[in-house]
């Protein structure tokens, strides 16, 4: 990121964000007056029961949907439409099936001012990081689910967006692949110092990956955040420690008591 936004100011600011939808003539709130500040390079996990607005929050942040009221500002500027500033990886990957792996990854770069040589270099690097150099000329239909998700990650990180949104990106993968994807994501995160919002329904996944966890509630009721105290790097074994299990249990029971 080569602009001059001061690194100590909050990068992403949500101010009284309210998102509603119309159901049989009645306005129903998904998110209500949500306010939140994210620092540069922060990793935020978003959890909550289904229907509580996790995806909606991401969609509004990405500029895909408009809020009823309230604002989201990135580096002080209002977000009103999608742009290269906010990367997005969805649960269903949505790779461009008519482009090869390397062309998919290069897609965002072509909207920026890069020379062909630069683009090739960036793509080569990413291919190596995600371990798909040999498959660079494949089409998405020829790849397994895990491979496709790796390409999706590389594609959104290639243009170095300040903010990256991921909507349950690994939930369709088997546990072994998921562990590898965690490693990959964390590596990309530290390499590029991106601010990440990561939606998941898996509390353990949230605690392993994030700095903070945002807990959303159904029908737009007030949200809360918890800081995640575990020091990085976090080995896999941390899941079995007492501290980890207690925190996970707390969050789980929080949601259980509400039903």
């Amino acid at each position: 990121m080569n602009d001059s936004y001061p690194a100590n100011k909050p990068l992403l600011v949500y101010d009284q964000l309210t998102v509603t939808y119309l159901s049989r003539g009645i306005r129903i709130a998904i998110l209500e007056s949500l306010s939140l500040k994210l620092e540069t390079g922060e990793f935020l996990a978003i959890v909550g029961p289904s229907g509580c607005g996790k995806s909606t929050l991401l969609n509004v942040t990405a500029g895909f949907k408009m809020p009823e009221s309230g604002t989201i500002r990135l580096k002080g500027k209002l977000i009103s439409k999608p742009s290269l500033q906010i990367g997005f990886v969805s649960q269903s990957y949505v790779l461009f099936e008519w482009l090869t792996v390397e062309d998919n990854i290069a897609f965002g770069l072509q909207s920026q001012k890069h020379s062909k040589k630069e683009i090739r270099q960036i793509v080569d690097n990413l291919l190596e990081v995600i371990g798909l150099t040999a498959q660079r000329a494949y089409y998405p239909a020829q790849l397994s689910g895990g491979m496709q998700q790796r390409v999706a990650l590389a594609r959104s990180i290639a243009s170095e967006p300040p903010v990256l949104l991921l909507d349950e990106p690994f939930s369709a993968l088997d546990s072994e692949t998921r562990i590898k994807m965690h490693e990959l994501l964390l590596r990309l995160w530290t390499d590029h110092n991106t601010t990440i919002l990561f939606v998941t329904h898996d509390i353990e996944e949230a605690l392993i990956l994030a700095d903070r966890v945002l807990m959303l509630e159904k029908n737009g009721k007030p949200v809360s955040t918890r800081d995640i105290p575990f020091i990085r790097p976090r080995p896999r074994s941390i899941i079995h420690t007492e501290q980890f299990q207690i925190m996970a249990g707390e969050i789980l029971s929080h949601y259980e008591t509400l039903t």
């Binding site: 990405a62 500029g63 969805s90 949505v94 461009f96 998405p140 239909a141 243009s159």
Partner: protein, 257 residues
């Protein structure tokens, strides 16, 4: 060797079956033999056509008219389908009109076209263009308007806008549906070229078919139909090959990894 022999038999079998039933109908159905010639008679008529040189010119002219119609109608359908599929105002203004015209059978418009455009090539190419336009328009419209929102979102958050979004994302995403339209257009154009040639022509498969009817030569009519069927099959195969070569990923959709 055995596999190839098997493949060959597989291809020939349906036709052999049809000829078998045909011969049975000739012998035992009691149908007026003038109305149902034998396969041999049809074969002879075909030979007659080939030797007289008529066959080649008929095929070339009919193909020319069909191809021109396919190109003009296809491009027009692609263009307009993209507009009505993406821009709401154009959709509710024009789509009902096109749907209405689409319902008109080509047989009905040929006399009208002759009155307006005369007996020349332009009238015939108009009819084939008409035939190609509607399937391409409809399928392009359908494909373009139903592109997965997620793809558009992903593209926009990767900085794609305006013409890059249209040509680089929307159209490729709609491509398999658009190709369905073109494939249909191939068969409708071939049908319409026959219809267009039945009046006011002096060369072409449709012309040959019609004048054979007028002198009571059903064997010649069937010969024309055989040629037409072969052309239809070849055109379809060619279309498949070309689209697979141009757009390799479309086939991949259906192949297991």
């Amino acid at each position: 060797m055995k596999y190839k022999a098997q493949q060959f038999l597989k291809i020939c079998a349906p036709f052999a079956l049809m000829i078998f039933f045909w011969i049975i109908a000739n012998r035992y159905s009691g149908v007026n033999p003038a109305l149902l010639p034998t396969p041999l008679e049809v074969g002879n008529a075909l030979k007659e056509f080939a030797i007289s040189g008529n066959l080649l010119w008929d095929i070339l002219w009919s193909l020319r008219r069909a191809a021109l119609g396919l190109i003009f109608g296809g491009l027009l359908g692609l263009f307009i389908g993209t507009i009505t599929g993406r821009i709401n105002a154009f959709n509710w203004l024009f789509s009902p009109l096109f749907n209405g015209f689409r319902a008109l059978p080509p047989v009905a418009i040929v006399p009208l076209v002759i009155v307006w455009a005369g007996l020349g090539e332009s009238g015939k190419v108009f009819v084939t263009t008409w035939a190609a336009f509607f399937p391409v328009w409809l399928n392009t419209h359908s494909g373009v308007s139903s592109v997965d929102k997620g793809i558009i979102w992903a593209a926009r958050s990767l900085g794609a806008r305006g013409s890059r979004l249209l040509f680089g994302v929307t159209l490729p995403a709609a491509l398999s549906q658009i190709l369905v339209g073109f494939r249909l257009a191939i068969s409708t154009t071939l049908i319409c070229v026959i219809v267009a040639e039945m009046t006011g022509a002096y060369v072409g498969l449709g012309f040959r078919l019609q004048i054979s009817y007028l002198v009571f030569r059903v064997d010649r009519m069937l010969a024309c139909l055989v040629v037409l069927a072969i052309i239809g099959i070849c055109a379809d195969r060619l279309f498949s090959l070309v689209t697979t070569w141009l757009f390799p990923w479309i086939k991949l959709r259906h192949e297991p990894r």
